[in-house]
Each structure stands twice: as C-alpha cells, then as structure tokens.
C-alpha cells in the first residue's frame, strides 16, 4: 500500500536541515510520497526506516529484465490496469516458437522466418523480439542445448521451456550469458529448477495448473529467496488462462498482492493448437489482457501487422497523442509535379487522410506540418495550425522540392484560404471536403477535370 506523506514523516529524522534540497522534512516526505524524489536524497533517515519504506514504496509489480546487451528487455513494472489511468510502461514482447521435436532443417527455417518481420511504424521498430524454445518430452539434453544455442545465436532473448533438469542445465551451460528465461518451475520441481536458475543467474519462469497452485509455488520460491521470476499463466484452457492472466495482474496492481507482482507469459500458440485465426484472436486478447510475453507459433506479417499496431496504440501515453514526423509524404507515386495536400501531424488524422488518398489512386504529395499532434480543429483553435504556420512550412520545406503550385487545405479550416493565398504568392489554394472519406471522390473528380 502506498504510504502518505504523513506516514513517511513519522519515520523521518525531523532535523529540517535542508540537505535534501527541500525546505523541511515534511516537504521532503510529501515529495517522496508522490514519487517525485527518492528517499535516498536525505542522508539522515535510519537504516531501519529506509528498509521499511522501500518495502512499502516499492512498485506493486516488479520490473524483470531478460536478454543481454542491446537485446535486453524490461518486462512488467506496471502500475495501472487500464491505459487511460497512466501510460503502460513496458510493452508486450512477442516470441516465436521452436521445438526440439523439429528436425534441423525446420529449426533453421523457423529461425530465418523469425527474422522476416522487421519494419518501422511511426518511429518504432517492429520485429520478433524473442524465441521460445520448447522441449519435447524425452528430448536428449545435448539436442536441446543445440537448439537453444541456435536460437541464442540470433541475439534475441530465448525462453527455455522445459521441465527436464538435465536439458535446462545443458542449455544454460551454452547460453546463460545471453540471459534467457528458464521457464521451468512448477509445483513439483520448483526447488530443483530454482537452484539451476539461480546458479546460472537467469530469470525463472513459474507455471501452475491453477491460479492457486501458481500462487503457492511463487510464494515458495520467494520464501527460498528468488524474486527474479516471470509467471507463465498459460493453463489447460483459454478460459482458465484468461482468468490467470487477469488474477495475476489485478492481484498485484489493484490488491497489492506482491506475490503476483511479476510479468507474465501467455503461450497463445499452445492455446490455439494450430487454429491460425484463433491464434490471431488470442494474440490480440492477451496483448490487451496483460501478457508481458506472448508466445506465437510463428510471427508472419499477417500476425505482425495488426498485433504490433495494437501494441503501439495500447502503450502510447494517453495524455500525449501519437504524432507523425513533419515532412512530404509522396503517395501513389507522386513526384515534384504532383498536387500538394496538407493536414496536421496527429497520427489518427494522418492515417485517415493518407488511407483515403491511397484509395483514390491519385498521385498526391501529403504535406504534414507540426501542429503539436492535435487534430485539425483543435490545432487551429490552439493557434498551431494557421495561415502563417502553413505558409512558413510550405516556403521552407516544400517550395524548394516541389514544382507544383496547387495546395489542398483541410475543409474544416476553409477560413484560412484567403490568408494562405496572400502569404503564399504563386500558389492556388483549394479547400478539401469536410470529411476524409469524401477525399476519394473529390480527387478523382479533380483528376477527371484535369486539375491534378
């Protein structure tokens, strides 16, 4: 439970010596309660008080790191259940599945396939971030280690999914430096797997056959001193998995039950069992409902395009809308002689407008200017979209590169037409329809009339 400033003040040194940078101890404690400063800024708190306070002020859900070097990822650390409350901090990561039951050629092909998806979307790189190496029953330890090694050679974090101690040891002997997850502990074997994971210095994945069993195993591991865990909430059924995913996250964040304060793994490949479209549905559902790592059978573009789009939206700051970079976006093969159309940098507007422009098939230079990431009317009201902002941008960025001198402006700011024309000599300013959906017909009509 978060402490109030008063509760922290009771434990403070009450010297009012200002060494912490605050005028009084009371002021300092208030800031600590808000999370604005760290308790360590005061040199005078007793060790006892600090121990008590750091336990009480620690975030409800731990941040766990997997992978090494530039492929190290933080998981968990969330403080809310819904994105409108506060920005989610550590985005869901996706792992493609390999299995020791596959022959070498298949494994190589799968590893290559995992590298295919790699693209950028609004400044974010989208790719298969991790590999999930499943250990089929009866797999020889040497063979499992070999598959693990191949997976680790990609540089991506590896999740070793095995309940075989020998396999775990053999694989970790090869790849522990890459900081894989040993997804291995359950109610029956947790002591042994705990020793293996701890010795190798890697995160231990814990699973259970029910929410209660999972809870008890985590509690036992914590009692044994291991708090470097992720929880594999995948159960026998989709329904039980959904329950576990929700109970774990809700338990930690809403009910402050630290035992469940760990990131989670959801294996949707296993739940969907070969039903491709169902796996799509589950990948989306468990991205929304609290999977820190979502394991898919294969990350092809059909899976990636929607799931990464969803993730990008889910993890954006609810206060700060997504923006696209200002610049000239040539569409439908537009060149310097193609007509220009301008709108704001608010990502939603950009997507709507560019989608309709693409549908029209008419070559257009889409001019995006900095409007503070606001919609057309809001940025106009805020003074960020004005005849001056448009004309300055056109002069500085567009005139040197584009020969065409026709500019279409958003229908919602038709009032700017006269002013823009006055400030942009040589340009013909045309007012677009009010709604983006009307652009297709509008442009096609212009094209038919030879106007663009």
């Amino acid at each position: 439970m978060a402490l109030t400033g008063i509760q922290i003040f009771k434990m403070s040194p009450k010297k009012n010596c200002k060494e912490c940078g605050s005028p009084t101890c009371m002021a300092f404690c208030m800031k600590v309660a808000q999370g604005a400063v760290d308790i360590s800024a005061c040199p005078h708190f007793s060790a006892d008080a600090i121990a008590q306070l750091s336990e009480a002020t620690a975030p409800p859900m731990k941040t766990i790191k997997i992978g090494a070097g530039e492929n190290e990822y933080s998981l968990g650390g969330e403080t809310v259940l819904y994105r409108h409350e506060k920005t989610f901090v550590n985005k869901t990561r996706y792992a493609a599945t390999l299995c020791s039951c596959m022959d070498d050629a298949t494994i190589d092909a799968k590893i290559e396939a995992a590298k295919v998806v790699d693209y950028e979307r609004i400044g974010e790189r989208m790719f298969t971030e991790a590999l999930f190496v499943n250990c089929a029953e009866g797999t020889d330890a040497a063979k499992y280690a070999e598959v693990a090694k191949k997976a680790a050679a990609t540089g991506r974090p590896v999740i070793l999914n095995t309940t075989c101690a020998d396999c775990a040891k053999a694989a970790l002997a090869e790849i522990k430096a890459a900081k894989p997850v040993l997804n291995a502990a359950n109610a029956a074997n947790y002591a042994e797997m705990n020793a293996i994971a701890t010795e190798a210095g890697v995160v231990l994945g814990v699973s259970g056959t029910s929410v209660d069993e999972l809870y008890d195993t985590v509690a036992a591991l914590e009692a044994a001193g291991n708090k470097n865990l992720v929880l594999d909430v995948t159960m026998d059924t989709i329904k039980a998995t959904y329950e576990a995913a929700v109970e774990v996250r809700r338990g930690a964040i809403k009910n402050n039950d630290r035992t469940f304060g760990y990131p989670s793994i959801v294996n949707v490949a296993k739940l969907a069992d070969g039903d491709v479209a169902l796996e799509q549905a589950l990948a989306a559902a468990f991205t929304m409902k609290y999977g820190s790592i979502v394991v898919v059978s294969e990350m092809d573009y059909a899976m990636a395009l929607p799931v990464f789009g969803l993730r990008q939206n889910l993890f954006t700051d609810p206060q700060k809308p997504m923006k696209v970079a200002p610049g000239i976006y040539p569409l439908n093969g537009a060149d310097e002689n193609s007509i220009c159309l301008t709108t704001v940098d608010f990502a939603l507007t950009y997507f709507l407008v560019s989608g309709e422009l693409e549908r029209s098939g008419v070559p257009v230079n889409l001019i995006i200017q900095d409007a503070g990431g606001l919609s057309v009317l809001t940025s106009w009201a805020a003074g960020k979209l004005s005849s001056t902002s448009v004309s300055d941008f056109m002069k500085a960025e567009v005139e040197p590169k584009i020969a065409n001198r026709k500019l279409i402006i958003p229908g919602k700011v038709a009032v700017l037409k006269g002013d823009i024309e006055a400030k942009l000599p040589g340009w013909e300013v045309i007012v677009a329809p009010l709604e983006a959906v009307q652009l297709v017909k509008f442009l096609k009509d212009m094209q038919a009339a030879g106007q663009c």
Binding site: Y215, P306, V437
Partner: protein, 314 residues
C-alpha cells in the same frame, strides 16, 4: 497464505436488449462483471457475432467472402447464406449504396433491399446506414417502418439525426435504436441522454461508441470502451449501461494492410486475404475484451474464429 481472491462483482448490470423474434432472437448485455470475467460473477448473455452484407452485393469483396456466397445472386440469397454462416448470431445489412458521395441509390430502392433481406431470414437483423447523417435520417426511419414486427436494430442514430431515427425506430415502430458516437465517453453518454429524453426507452438502445482498426488510433477505442464499461458497472451510470455493438469489418477491410495486393505491398507481407482476416480478427478480439457485447464481421474465417474465442472465454 493462499491466494486471496477479490472478485469485482457489481450490484448492477449492463441492460439486456433483445433483437429479432422467435427462436433466433438474441439478447445483448446483462453482464455484472468486466468482459469475460467469468471468475468474478455472471457475464450475462454471451457476446454475439454478426455477419455484414451490403446492398452493393459481393462486388469488391475478398475472394474468400465471394467463395462463401458462391451461387447467390439476389440479396435474399446472400442474406440467407449470411445467416447460416457458422458462428453467426445475426445479420447486418449495410446500406452503403445510399451514400450521396458514392452510388447515391434512392431511399425507395434501398428500402426494397431491406424488405427483401428481412423477409428472407429468421435471424435477427441489424441495419447500418450509409454514413451520411442527413440521408440516414430518412432512410433508417423508413427502414424501421418496413421492418415492423421484426424487432430490428437500426444503427447510425447520430447526434445529427437521432431525432428522426430515434422517433421512428424507438417510438413509432418499436424497434431498437443504435446510438452512434465518435470514441468519446461524454459524447456517448450525451447521445443516450437526449435519445431517452425523446421518449426512447433506455432498454431499447444499443451503443456504437465508435470504432477503428488496430494501429489506427485504436488507443481511443480501448480507452472509450474501458471507461464506459467502468462507469456502467462501478458507478452504475444508467446512461452508459446500454450494451455495445461494434462494426468491425467496415473499418478493417479498408486499411492498407487489408487492401494492398501482394504485388504492391512491401516485401514479405504475403497474401492480402490472410492479412485482411487477421486485421479483422485481432480488432474484434480487442473490442470484445474491452467491452463490446457484439461485433460485426464479414469473412467466414473471422466469424468462425471470433465465435470460437467467445465460446472458449464464456
């Protein structure tokens, strides 16, 4: 210490709205817990899946959709086939040909389609307008009249035309009214308030609170759905307790991921139809876990997958 469960079960529930008549009638809503939180309490009626068809027929539809309707030549045949789609609970007729900026079919022509469809099927019918608020005001009011006794849902009653649509659908012909707002909890609530002030019963209203495709400003959809469901349950806000229906396919099949042919798409994207299905399926799944009580899809593969997901989670 064993795990201490703290269910979030509320002493209130989402309204139950019935659409259709007879054996095939469906009920939307009824949950007194968050979406699919079966472990907390009763989830009410299971979420429903609708199949979208258009007055424009099958032209321009993806190959898998065309193949499913193979041999259907009339709207009646298409509607029957849609109603039979495995996983489907209702049929949704979209009157897109009415758009004045598009084909601009006359209201009479479209009402003839509505009659043909409603007479052809036993399944519940949900009618979507043409996106033009002014025309929808007239079109949907006439559609309400044409479907008397069938208990249909007329979507697309917006701020601009709720009086015309609401009065005809909700008052004169005793149908259900679909209140459509644009991804904002306050707008959704306001529309419900004015629609009920018109005399339409709260229990006759279903909300379409706005929709988008994942990746396309979908953050607003998530938060709108999350906040509406939270207000409905935790604050028992009567003006937000209407069940939610989300048209998915009309959005998702228009984005570039679902329309760029393999030849024109970036390298590796692969088959366009597969991408179309995954955009539709993933958007629908995200809508459902955020609080939609019904989704409208069109591809048979998507309908089957989402119906299965709902069944597994309920």
């Amino acid at each position: 210490m064993p795990f201490n469960r703290k269910p979030q079960k509320f002493n209130t529930a989402i309204n139950v709205v019935e659409i259709g008549t007879g054996d095939k009638a469906i009920k939307l809503g009824g949950a007194s817990v968050f979406p699919f939180y079966t472990f907390d309490g009763p989830i009410g009626n299971t979420a429903k899946v609708g199949v979208e068809i258009s007055d424009m027929g099958l032209e321009g539809e993806p190959a898998g959709v065309k193949a499913y309707y193979e041999g259907c030549t009339t709207m009646a045949e298409i509607a029957k086939k849609a109603a039979e789609m495995p996983g489907a609970d209702f049929v949704s007729l979209k009157l897109e040909g009415g758009d004045p900026n598009g084909v601009n079919k006359s209201v009479e022509e479209l009402i003839a389609v509505v009659k043909e469809v409603v007479d052809a099927i036993d399944a519940p019918l949900v009618i979507q307008g043409c996106k033009n608020a002014e025309k929808d005001g007239e079109l949907l009011a006439k559609a309400a009249e044409a479907c008397q006794g069938k208990n249909v849902l007329l979507m697309s009653a917006k701020e601009e035309n709720y009086k015309a649509v609401g009065a005809a659908a909700g008052l004169a012909y005793n149908q259900k009214v679909g209140a459509e707002s644009a991804v904002d909890i306050n707008l959704a609530k306001q529309l419900n308030v004015v629609t009920t002030q018109l005399g339409v019963k709260a229990e006759s209203i279903v909300m379409n609170v706005g929709t988008a495709t994942v990746g396309y400003g979908y953050d607003y959809v998530i938060s709108t759905l999350d906040r509406i469901r939270a207000a409905a349950l935790t604050q028992a806000d009567k003006m937000l307790q209407m069940p939610i229906i989300t048209p998915v396919s009309s959005e998702t099949w228009g984005v570039k991921e679902a329309t760029a042919d393999e030849a024109d798409a970036p390298a590796g994207w692969g088959c366009v139809e597969k991408r179309g299905i995954s955009m539709e399926v993933q958007t629908a799944a995200a809508d459902l876990v955020s609080g939609s009580d019904a989704v409208i899809l069109k591809h048979p593969a998507s309908v089957a997958a989402i119906a299965k997901m709902i069944k597994e989670l309920s």
